[in-house]
Point group: C2
Chain length 109, copies 2
């Protein structure tokens, strides 16, 4: 596999995937349980959520903590790396929010 061609290339690889930005955004305010995330992120299925969470975990963006209880409890939170990513993502979110009207209008549909 070719090395990343630039920082943007690397970042895109990390946040690529339909639900990753939403997950990052949801975890912005602190740790959340699996079920909380599922309810917070409208439209995501359990399979997809877990898949994307695992990918983020393997990249050291989110941390997974299991509480050995019944019924089970698992909390997901941002690592330091994940928090720094979220900071870097903020301007992009602001850009999208600022131009959301024109972006909605030019959408493929």
């Amino acid at each position: 596999m070719l090395p990343y061609s630039c920082g943007l290339d690397a970042a895109a690889d990390v946040i690529g995937g339909k639900w990753k930005p939403r997950i990052l955004w949801a975890l912005h305010h602190g740790p959340m349980r699996f079920g909380e995330l599922r309810r917070e992120i409208a439209g995501v299925t359990e399979k997809m959520l877990i898949q994307q969470l695992r990918e983020l975990e393997s990249r050291d963006i989110v941390h997974r903590e299991v509480f050995h209880q019944v019924p089970p409890k698992v909390e997901y939170s941002l690592t330091e790396l994940g928090q720094s990513l979220n900071v870097a993502l903020a301007p992009l979110d602001a850009w999208g929010a600022e131009h959301i009207a024109v972006l909605e209008a030019s959408r493929a549909g």
Copy 2:
């Protein structure tokens, strides 16, 4: 189709696609011809390049200017919106560049 859930969601929709970040980055320094872009962006095919350029054009991120000559000449450049997007992308690029070693290491392929 559901509306964008946040600015990040909208931005991701615009820059989603394998070659779009590379194209944006390449156009950062000024207008480029189709052939120049193709040579600049290693690995891209003509079909893919044009497809992604058209998508960016329809979103008003890049501008396409045809010079009626033979052989043909077409120049692509960033619109104002495109330039503002590139500005918003800069921190993300910096983030990727800063953590590129660890990101390469945790990569799937």
